[in-house]
Symmetry: C2
Subunit: 245 residues, 2 copies
Amino acid sequence: MVDMKEPMESHIYAPLLRASVSQWRQQGKKGVWIKLPIQLANLVEPTVKEGFRYHHAESDYLMLVHWIPDSPDALPANASHIVGIGAFVMNNKREVLLVKEKHGYFEGKDVWKFPTGVVNQGEDICTAAVREVKEETGIDTEFMEILAFRQTHKQFLGKSDLFFVCMLRPLSFDITKQDSEIKAAQWIPIDEYVNQTYNREHKSFEYIARICSTKSQGSYGGFSAVRPSSGKQNYLYFNGQDFKP
Amino acid sequence: MVDMKEPMESHIYAPLLRASVSQWRQQGKKGVWIKLPIQLANLVEPTVKEGFRYHHAESDYLMLVHWIPDSPDALPANASHIVGIGAFVMNNKREVLLVKEKHGYFEGKDVWKFPTGVVNQGEDICTAAVREVKEETGIDTEFMEILAFRQTHKQFLGKSDLFFVCMLRPLSFDITKQDSEIKAAQWIPIDEYVNQTYNREHKSFEYIARICSTKSQGSYGGFSAVRPSSGKQNYLYFNGQDFKP
């Protein structure tokens, strides 16, 4: 794994890289990784010319790889899924915490929806749900269960998407909405939410709303989050009503 | 979205790109995407010099983006998660379909494990599970339920990982193992599997094995897969014992 940091001219870099690959081959190395920060974009072309391919990129760097031996390439896969959460938060008056969004898909549509958001790389699903609710509505919550999830495939960019419906228990009740993304945030009676027109016209929204409604009556087993080994950042989600470790 | 295909020299490309960005700005365009196949690696540097950043990369292309207006960048997130499956397949003699792997983490360890594999971009979790079992063992199966899933965060490359434990029903019983990856494949009594030393020493393996054992006795509600809208590639997973659409 070569983590390039200092600027270098490509006519100096290319012969150095060639000599290194030859040395790594003699040493019996298999997979070689080169991380090029975006400031070193001039080194992308010479790296590709030495037989490297792209592995993945983030905003500020490109990772290239080269599998040296003749055996099949055993390099790990690139990330394929964007992960999102929707938060079902109900108070003890059977009111649900809902928002209207300013931008994106729901812009201009008069739809009350769960607070939603993207799970960051390295972030736990249960943590992301609590964070998004706090950011969008100012409400403090505790993660309880995952009630359902949906997998979709995006035409655009070819990536896939996993969306987890999380039930959270509210720990505070006074809403302070985020102004940049959220047009309105309110506690709304659950039946009003379930029966809104949009849900009746969109099956997967209808199913999710009705699953939450079933859960609100106490008769639905979702997946709770357990850390099997204390200390390790590693959550296992399973039906905690039916299986007690 | 500019999908570059034909080779071009960078001194011709750079002024063309600059003129285009200026035109797009006048037209009120917001996000601009440029897809550069790896053969056009010479155009990465001039694209970055025009203010583009990396969005993501696959083996054979790099996607760059530029958000033109002064408003906050509303470009979609890059994929952050690798998704994998493990397949729990039991016949009616209470024997589980297990494999020993030749390479990777379990190489040299004497561990019987579920057939596992990576869910491809654009592939449904339930389809991936059936495909992996077929590839590794030759057994035909039908997807039943997701019993649990685990989220972990990888040090290496910074990506996160979602691993879904899928219960499948076998439709055939004669094993034909794949030679390149699989050292052994066999039907093994479930209790022998649950009690193997490795599981007792690794809590998340132990939990998963015991959840499967609980399920084998019929008293565990996992998540089944339903397509809310016929036609659309879009699965919703939820507790089908507790909620009937």
